[in-house]
Symmetry: none
Subunit: 275 residues, 2 copies
DNA sequence: CGTAGGGCTGAAATTTTACTACGCATTTTG
DNA sequence: CAAAATGCGTAGTAAAATTTCAGCCCTACG
């Protein structure tokens, strides 16, 4: 849809082109707007908006909005563009959200390559889970710990370098160490991975597949760290990491069976006591 | 969407139920119809159609058609089923991911209703940002604080009840208090919202729109808390909250202009020093 | 058994929105 | 340089969405 508009840009007259450009730049807003609003936004008149719709082969404005909502509700049809200094609030918000959705859709496309099965199988017998991350990934680690402890297996989150180093030194068989990092080149994490691995702990990295950390870990959940040349780009990787851990959590709960289910139920009741 | 209608069937009156049933039976037709046509097809009057739309939480008929075309053009119109004890690891992982994507897509559908513009405009002049949340939302608050401080405005995260209470007591003009909660019925947060509001701080809630907290706050980012009857369901609300805050962060950065951009750039360099 | 009240309903009025007719202006062309 | 043509926006029209309001039915209570 948006592609077709782009293609016919050459055949349009001045006012129509103004409309087309606004539609291309703000499709989601247009999908919820009225003719008058679009006309004002494109600095032209209402008839020009209608004429634009006709020119690209639609029956009228109603069909334009319908087609746009259709096109935009396919999660995979997003055209990701970076946020720039000229963007309006609505533009920026929309772009951030689309980037977030896209990163999860990308993850979905790679699911079959991720070692969920293997890792979960080993988690069932673990003595404890340890989640380690620095900076933003530290929050992800805390969140994970906060979630996994409900399964009944002991959990900790480590969010600073010295503590992670110390844990790696005392890690042992039965310990599962999750190392979370966006681009996976923090030296402390890589060293921790090797050391803990040598101590026969199970080391799982959630990071970029081409990183040093990924090499050092026994298992890796590959989450491509798209380079952020743009200062405004938020770290969508956090979302991906959180979601991977969510999935691991659910899968582990299932693998652990009734005992874990019972623990989860009790946790739920503890928050909202049943009458 | 269709599921929500089905769910609220019980709460509808006779005429509204007729409309609901017609919509459920012929969603595709409704998406392209007018109010009059639907009224006639459902053997009722136009106002009843409108009332039906309002009753299920929409702003009017236009939004009903928009939502329907969205729902119908979604490639995975497979009904999301909860994770169950019989699921394989791969099934469970796929479902978790599907739910995560869906929650963000839903958020995107509601973007225009969220007060990004208003809130950002006031954030520009803020003296400090304070993010408060309990439990899992506490991690979201920490993450937000960790992110917003890069703009140059002072930031804190409060993640326990007594601290939140104390801050509300001393909050003042120029302070922006973000209260993050999944279902928004924690008493401490609600009280903090009122108290801080009375102290002329700006109170922004990121929570369920029907909650007490949403009432108590000056501005609300409505994130529907889909009830989790299922013990395995992870809290997708975290993802939504994080993403809302990501968007706010970027929008605020743009609104703050060059000074914020410069701060962001310096932060980036601090992590990866340029040669 | 009657009546007051509340809520539901649809006819009609109102407002909003999409679309059309027409004349002016600018460009195009012989 | 004149005549034609094309495109543009003002103003109007038709249609659609939404609100208003009076009647109705059902319930509650005297």
């Amino acid at each position: 849809m948006l592609g077709e508009i782009n293609q016919s840009l050459g055949r349009l007259s001045r006012a129509e082109k103004q409309v087309a450009e606004w539609v291309l730049a703000h499709p989601r807003e247009v999908a919820e707007s009225t003719v008058a609003e679009v006309a004002r936004a494109a600095a032209t008149s209402e008839p020009s908006v209608i004429r634009f719709c006709r020119r690209i082969g639609l029956s009228g404005f109603r069909e334009l909005t319908r087609r746009l909502t259709e096109a935009l509700s396919r999660p995979d049809s997003l055209v990701h563009r970076d946020v720039g200094a000229g963007d309006s609030t609505a533009d920026a918000v929309a772009k951030v959200l689309e980037a977030a959705i896209r990163s999860l859709v990308d993850l979905r496309g790679q699911l079959s390559k991720l070692p969920f099965d293997t890792v979960v199988r080993q988690m069932v017998h673990a003595r404890q889970f340890v989640f380690a991350g620095l900076g933003a990934s530290g929050h992800v680690a805390s969140d994970a710990s906060h979630k996994f402890f409900r399964l009944g297996t002991p959990c900790t989150a480590l969010t600073d370098t010295p503590t992670i180093r110390q844990f790696a030194a005392i890690a042992g068989s039965g310990d599962v160490l999750f190392l979370i990092s966006k681009n996976g080149n923090a030296a402390a994490l890589c060293e921790a991975a090797s050391i803990a691995g040598n101590n026969s702990a199970m080391v799982v990295a959630i990071t970029d597949p081409n990183s040093r950390l990924a090499q050092a870990a026994a298992y890796t959940f590959a989450c491509d760290a798209q380079e952020d040349t743009n200062i405004y780009t938020p770290r969508s990787s956090r979302l991906v990491h959180l979601t991977v851990l969510d999935a691991l959590h659910v899968a582990a709960a299932l693998a652990l069976g009734d005992a874990a289910a019972e623990n989860l139920r009790r946790c739920k009741d503890a928050l909202a006591p049943p009458a």
